[in-house]
Amino acid sequence: MSNSSPALPKSNRFTKHKGAREWQERVIEFVLFLAGFSCVLTTFAIMEILVVESWHFFQTVSIVEFVTSKDWSPLFEPPGYGILPLISGTLTTTAVALSVAIPMGLIAAVYLSEFASGKLRETVKPILELLAAIPTVVYGYFALLLVIPILQWLYSFVGPTLSNIFPAIFPVEMSGFNMLGAGVVMGLMITPMISSISEDAMRAVPNMLREGSYATGATKLQTALQVVFPAAISGIFAAVILGISRAVGETMIVAIAAGLQPNFTFNPLDSAATMTAYIVQVSLGDLPHGTIQYQSIFAVGLTLVLITLVFNILGYFLSKRFREIY
């Protein structure tokens, strides 16, 4: 080629615009890069806002009080700034939600992936996804006006007896705002998410493994639980962890149905505020910028982000540890 190139004219109509085109390509690539980089900027902005405002908060309140005191009452005199009641509320509603969502989600996933016919799966999956698409404020309405009244009615049969035996745990009547109702509804909300992601993970297990298992005489259930489930465990962990972060960060259901009084308790029958519900409660009022109460929602937000981060990192390592590659 090298001896033929001098024969070409220095600039013909094909090469004339090459420089300009190259330059245009560079510009486009840079613009696209900036768009991608906006995600990094968003993360930095979130951390910057949370850390700076929390820093102001911790100028007034000691970190030791924040993480050890069981009194959270920033809006009263004298104010208390111990986040433990908000954390207990968040963990209790999350635990209730998971005890609904994990069994339901995983059973549905195993059924849809291993038992159901293709047609049933293709019909049910989008409908379940609709369940996850309903706005959370509607779920909050559902929890407050439908689920809690039903739970109250059911509890009225066992409540008086139980409160005689364990008066410390069981109240005589169930409160109109409680973590059980909020948690159950939250569980129903995250069930489709857990089932959908775990089902995808199980469907990705190669058929070879199933056929091998059937060949040894295993039933469908044995194959599903002892072969497919362990093979897909990394994806299933990922689904559960996503469910946990979703439940920890869920706001409207708990703000509507779990009550807004901070309460250091792990009893789901009580009403208590979660971290997210506190942020909503403060935002509904009209707090001036720069007050300690205004800063407190950023400190709570930072705690919330750190908790979800811990779960996400945990999930990352768990799914890496158990990943199987075929």
Binding site: Y111, I134, T136, Y141
Partner: protein, 312 residues
Amino acid sequence: MAPAELSAQSLSPAHNAVSRRQLISSSFAILGLLVIFIALMVLLALVTSLVLQGAPRLNWKFFTSFPSSDPLEAGILAAWVGSVLVMLTTMLFAIPLGVAAGIYLEEYAPKNWLAALIEINVTNLAGVPSIVYGLLALGLFSQQLNLGESVLTAGLTLALLILPIVIVTTREALRAIPNLLREAAYALGASRWQMIWDHILPYSFGSILTGIIIGMSRAIGETAPLITIGALTFIAFLPPLPIQPEFPFISFEWLTAPFTVMPIQMFNWVSRPEQEFQVNAAAAGVVLIVMTLTLNGFAIYLRYRFRKGVKW
């Protein structure tokens, strides 16, 4: 026949064990069906109870009235107009930014730490609770950039919130296009951007659109981040119209107007003690569910259609 009967008899313990295991297996299938049935019943119960409760309020007046202290007079005019305006603003920011970021990550990004950093951040942002975006908006847009409690602040907040959804679905859509097409375009002398703009984007348009619609349906029901920035709940006026009768004819004043949206209006009604306002909340819930389910149904239809139509 006799030897066969004999062996069947001697095999009967094993046979029993097999049929027991089969029985367990089929009863699990019934359990699975039951769980799915319960989930679907919940969806049905939710929609039915909302419709039954809200039905008396669902009339033309409900859509054309402002909120009021009298539940019978109160309506969702400010809320639905607000929702539409906020959604427009969200789309304006989220679609170009998300699609561009998706294209960068899938078609351009070299394998280096910078691309990995972007990728980790996209995954991470998808897991950040929505209320934290509200805190970001309160601190950054509302206070530092001084945008206040405006439609623009809300739109930017929700755009950031759905950005990961748009990016991830864009990437998936681009990944589904076989490399054959890229190589064919290059072979004809197309530059990378020409290849993407003229060939890859048109082919993946349907799937990208599906992702955008799913993101919009998420944004339309999002309440918490907008409460955090202090969206007012009692708004008895509409933002200025974008089209004006006098000279420049187009006005962007609506971007800076205070607003309320459907989910906030519903939250406001739910948290009132009076029974009558719960009816309003239910009616607003019905409208909200119709909005999100329509968007989602459309997305599912699109996904189905494009999956069926294209064979590589």
